[in-house]
């Protein structure tokens, strides 16, 4: 018994190292590509303070915050998806598809709408308040979806369907409120909702960082609970788990992660759907392994999508949320075809 376990552990560690290496590579690719190309060697030079002034400006003020934000959001959404899929035992769960992202988005737009005179959207105070509003919106959306989908338990497909409905309702409300804004706020809100991370500045990074740094390790700490819940409610209860209590706590974690990410990066759907699936294929069903690996894969994928969005049709920049949607919907359809 011990031997296969050791092999698995070895495999897991080597995957972890490989992913970190890929992440670093992607990080440099992402830093060096764009409208003003900077060669990787220049990137390294600039990072160590030996670059030209222009290179420093481009890297530190424009690219670096965006890339770090992509990293954090990718990680956050991926872990949120892992929790949602684990807790609901639903292969199709994703904060974007379920409407949690739109709920958070609506709360943020309401915030901008009511406080647009007192605060500018990119100012440092609002960067820190927005995640809190997003969180309230996300919790409200999650509560609404869960209640509406409840009918002698929550059937996976019904949950998604209710999520889509709630999503459509929130989007309609969003459009109505957005149109009441003045044109400048409107444009900002539109681009932001499509899942845009380049308007990012260091404030957003600083606002999101504590959430991710606290919530992902805490989720990892709760990984055992996820494993147990995954065995089904009866088994979980038999193993001494307070099923409902654990489930609610984990759901709140997922919703908080999604809300914080939406506040910083707008609505990026499908990432939380795809990453957990890829991860489970690689490392199996143990959440102690799934969570770290999907954190890395989520960050990697979102950075990749960001590079694609910036370069494929340059100078047109495609919001990263749209790139993710185009790449992931075929996978969603594939999963749908397999689901009973």
């Amino acid at each position: 018994m011990a031997k296969p376990q050791a092999i698995k552990q070895k495999r897991y560690v080597s995957i972890l190292i490989l992913l970190i290496a890929l992440l670093i590579m992607m990080f440099f690719i992402s830093l060096s590509t764009g409208v003003i190309p900077i060669s990787p060697s220049d990137v390294v030079k600039t990072l160590f303070n030996f670059g030209t002034e222009k290179q420093e400006l481009v890297l530190f003020e424009f690219r670096l915050p965006g890339i770090i934000l992509a990293l954090l959001i990718g990680a956050g959404l991926a872990v949120s998806g892992v929790i949602l899929q684990g807790v609901t035992q639903n292969d199709l769960a994703d904060p974007g598809i379920l409407g949690i992202n739109t709920g958070a988005g609506l709360a943020v737009v309401l915030f901008i709408y009511f406080f647009q005179d007192t605060l500018s959207m990119t100012s440092s105070i609002s960067a820190f308040i927005m995640p809190i509003f997003a969180l309230i919106g996300a919790v409200f959306a999650a509560f609404l979806i869960y209640t509406l989908a409840w009918k002698n338990g929550v059937n996976p497909i019904r949950l998604i369907l209710v999520g889509i409905g709630v999503n459509a309702g929130f989007s309609a409300a969003l459009i109505i409120f957005q149109l009441k804004m003045d044109p400048q706020d409107f444009r900002q809100a539109t681009v932001w909702l499509a899942g845009d991370i380049w308007s990012a500045n260091w404030n957003f990074v600083l606002a999101l960082l504590p959430w991710i740094l606290f919530l992902i390790p805490y989720t990892l700490h709760k990984a055992h609970g996820l494993n147990v819940l995954n065995l089904g409610d009866d088994v979980a209860a038999g193993l001494g788990s307070k099923v409902e209590h654990e489930r609610r706590l984990l759901l709140i974690l997922a919703v908080a992660l999604a809300g914080a990410c939406v506040a910083a990066g707008g609505g990026i759907a499908f990432l939380g759907l795809v990453v957990p699936h890829i991860t489970r294929r690689i490392v199996g069903p143990t959440h102690q392994r799934i969570i770290p690996i999907s954190t890395l894969i989520g960050a990697l994928l979102l950075m990749m999508a960001d590079v694609i969005g910036k370069n494929v049709l340059a100078p047109t920049e495609i919001p990263v949320g749209i790139v993710v949607a185009i790449l992931s919907t075929p996978y969603f359809v594939y999963l749908l075809m397999k689901t009973k």
Partner: protein
């Protein structure tokens, strides 16, 4: 699903009569309400004895009337499309917007606008037929490769996914060709750009579609009882389904090319109509056209009221009305079993 009440013929005629009167009233309301409120008597004069020197008459003739008519026609077409889809597939969630058909139509519209900027209105309408067709084919392909067949809910999810993909690609194209403004109009759904040319297009293409819909209405009644029953009664199911799909494509394509992706009309109206009119599609199809027209004309008035003097996309209004209904259906359909 909702149960239905069996009415006598006279009662059904009476209900339709009331619907027609209500529609006329709502069109009158739509014409007289706006940035400048115009008295109904003036409206009547503008139609009866048009005086080109009066600005109110101009507004009515060139802006308000075509807009109200377009709302009525688009609403009718979407409702009939939804009715045919639900009747043929016996799927309570089938409707043009949920199955991605409207997104497909908008997708080819963007392609036309991006690559053939000088394209005529009729060309755009034709493009949206093609796009609607692409979406239908994709959704049904997904269905036929599905392991446990195409349950109503899965069909709806496949439609939503394919719609999302097509609309994402549309966004990319519109960003690249700087068509965001045109696109945001199409995706939100709106009637502010309508003129008499739109009415002509709607009348010609939609007329063909409505004619087809009425021809197959009897067969759809039989088909809605189940494919076996239909075969047993000597119907050619494949032929009827093909005709039904063509009808849906024509009606939805025409509606989208004029008003963009207006959601949920094609979902709600068929249910309401079946509830009132019973099971005979010879009654359901014309009545759903009336009810759909009524809903969209009124929604368009609301869309202008919500944030006056600015316009709200009518699609946002129909979504807000439609979502509670959709949620009710989603709960009722047993969750994919």
């Amino acid at each position: 699903m909702l149960s239905y009440i069996n009415h006598s013929r006279i009662l059904k005629l009476l209900i339709n009569g009331i619907a027609i009167i209500a529609l006329l009233f709502s069109i009158a309301l739509s014409v007289s309400y706006g940035a400048v409120d115009i008295k109904l008597s003036t409206v009547w004069q503008a139609i009866n004895s048009f005086n080109p020197d009066l600005s109110t008459h101009q507004v009515i003739q060139e802006l308000r009337l075509p807009r109200a008519f377009a709302a009525a026609l688009v609403g009718a077409f979407l409702a009939v499309s939804g009715t045919i889809m639900q009747g043929m597939t016996r799927n309570p969630l089938a409707s043009p917007s949920i199955m991605g058909v409207t997104d497909g139509a908008a997708f080819t519209l963007v392609i036309m606008l991006a690559f053939f900027p000088g394209v005529s209105n009729l060309g755009l309408t034709f493009a949206s037929f093609v796009g609607a067709g692409i979406a239908v084919v994709l959704v049904f392909l997904v269905g036929s490769f599905s392991t446990s067949g195409l349950t109503p809910v899965k069909l709806a999810l496949a439609g939503v996914a394919i719609g999302t993909m097509l609309s994402s690609i549309s966004s990319v194209i519109s960003l690249h060709f700087q068509l965001e403004k045109e696109m945001s109009f199409w995706f939100a759904g709106g009637l502010s750009g309508t003129n008499w040319t739109s009415i002509h297009i709607l009348l010609i293409t939609g007329g063909i579609g409505m004619f087809l819909a009425l021809i197959i209405s009897r067969s759809i009644t039989v088909l809605s009882l189940g494919e076996d029953v239909s075969t047993g009664l000597g119907q050619n199911n494949i032929l009827i389904k093909a005709l039904g799909i063509v009808t849906v494509l024509i009606l939805t394509g025409a509606a989208v090319s004029i008003a963009g992706t207006v959601g949920f009309v094609g979902l709600i109206i068929p249910h309401i109509t079946r509830f009132i009119m019973g099971t005979d599609y010879r009654w359901i199809i014309p009545s759903s056209a009336l009810f759909g027209a009524l809903l969209l004309v009124l929604s368009d008035v609301v869309a202008r009221l919500v944030n006056a003097p600015f316009e709200t996309p009518v699609g946002a209004i129909t979504s807000l009305i439609g979502v509670p209904f959709f949620l009710y259906l989603a709960r009722g359909s047993g969750g994919g079993k």
